[in-house]
Amino acid sequence: MNLNIQREELLISQLADLLKNDKHVAVGAASPIPGAAALLAKEEAKFLNKRLRVTILHSNKYNNFTDGARELFDCAAQGRIDTFFLGGVQIDGQANINLVGTGKYPKIKKRFPGSFGSALMYFVVPQIVLFREEHSPRTLVKKVDFISAPGVSEKDVYRPGGPKYLLTNRALFRFNKNLQKFSLYKINEKETVKNLIKLTGFDFDVDNKISQMPNPDTNRINILRNKIAPMVSEFYPEFANRIWGI
């Protein structure tokens, strides 16, 4: 059966696989794909008799907080959030992320929205998944122009959390904290390692367990399209409309 899996659905599926051991996943601003992945993982956890709590900041319905917008950060600092997602205009080889802009700050060339809560969340959430769809030398760079949040910290800095994975539309990397380096873990079926080296601005290792990104099976796609898609349309209506036509 040809499921005609869309690029976004494949990414949602990859992210959902990373949430299997979690108890509480939170999703921040401008994150329809992570939001869908978290809800999908929650739905699938039910089949395993597990309970996954999902907090989606930009939703009224899928939001567990009542103490205002600061509660996300307090909750994360208390260690009550297992996974959070962060993006970046640029991401570099040491997992530094830049959400502010390109050029030499403060005289920047191209200004982007800003750092959001990254400068705390990156330090305190045990599993940070970096997510940036565009995989190119301009997004994955040798050194970011501005560090919104650093990938690694000095030893004396309080840092129970940090980067674990980086997902793009071409590949999934794991971050090795000791080596301060990414290693290529899964690749899109249409990709080659050689091409990825060309498209990545930083040096990376290749994992000895490297494999192809698995396509979501029929079961998962059915849950995603029938159950999760309408939920996503509550908080990301534009996205849900573009991907699923609802």
Binding site: D67, G68, R70, A77, Y105, P113, G114, G117, L120, S148
Partner: protein, 271 residues
């Protein structure tokens, strides 16, 4: 029925003076868009926007209209509709000063004012370029013997007091208590502001304090300097629990505001 005198929107606008630090609620906490348009019409200048923690179309419009000299925020964006074009243009051309921050720091600086202490500590942030460029922030070694890790570096943030806060809410009761629901960051903003004005969809002839549920979800009138009834006052932004955002309109703005001319045309139509 009412124990307070309702203000006109113009009376609230007149409270905002050039150079004021104006509190800006996030897109999910009741953006006072009708007020914002009146403020632009008045031609207020050199505002310092303090966003908790981000702003969308409200900040972008104020910046595009030349009302702003400085903005402190964790993000300025049109959300699903992309970047805030007037903001980006103003920063790229050095027209406004941006004090780049991060969400929890913006909360903590107001929490310091809530408690009337001179600063608030925060973990994280150390080693970022945000911290490097904020000369008003300081790192100390943890002096406590009984909590945290001794000598651990900790960031200190200064207390920030707002000159004025204006937000939009579903309703007030007859005593001027404001329903804010779970949007408790509005209370943080209000506690940290010298003056607070609220536009509401309606005034209810009840007392929120007679019921535990409504008492727990209101901002007490003691923090509120004035209320004006403004129907649809958040449009095109959402008013949580009452109406959702007008995405067609925000999309229209996002396209128009890509150029200075387009923005000018849009503002002519919307004012």
């Amino acid at each position: 029925m009412k124990s307070f005198d309702e203000l006109s929107l113009k009376e609230i606008v007149d409270e905002v003076q050039d150079g004021f630090i104006l509190g800006i609620p996030a897109d999910y906490s009741g953006v006072p868009m009708k007020f914002t348009k009146e403020l632009i019409k008045k031609g207020v200048k050199n505002l310092k926007l303090y966003c908790l923690p981000l702003t969308t179309i409200q900040g972008d419009m104020l910046i595009g209209s030349g009302c702003v000299s400085e903005i402190e925020a964790a993000a300025v964006t049109l959300g699903e509709f992309g970047m805030a074009p007037r903001f980006s243009e103003a920063v790229e051309n050095g027209k406004i000063l941006i004090k780049d921050s991060t969400c929890p720091a913006l909360h903590a600086q107001l929490q310091a004012t809530e408690k009337s202490v001179p600063f608030m500590p925060l973990r994280g942030v150390i080693g970022s370029d945000i911290q490097k460029h904020r000369k008003d922030w300081h790192v100390i070694q943890n002096p406590m013997r009984s909590s945290g890790v001794r000598e651990e570096p900790v960031l200190l943030l200064p207390a920030v007091q707002l000159d004025i806060l204006v937000f939009h809410a579903p309703c007030s009761d007859r005593n001027g208590n404001i329903q804010i629901g779970r949007r408790r960051e509005l209370a943080t903003l209000a506690h940290a502001s010298k003056k607070v004005f609220v536009t509401v969809e309606k005034v209810l002839d009840i007392d929120f304090f007679e019921d535990e549920l409504s008492a727990a979800t209101c901002l007490p009138a003691l923090y509120v300097n004035g209320i004006s009834i403004v129907k649809n006052g958040a449009w095109p932004c959402a008013l949580p629990g009452v109406y959702s955002s007008d995405n067609e309109e925000i999309k229209k703005y996002s396209l128009a505001a890509k150029t200075k001319e387009g923005f000018g045309e849009y503002m002519k139509y919307c004012l």
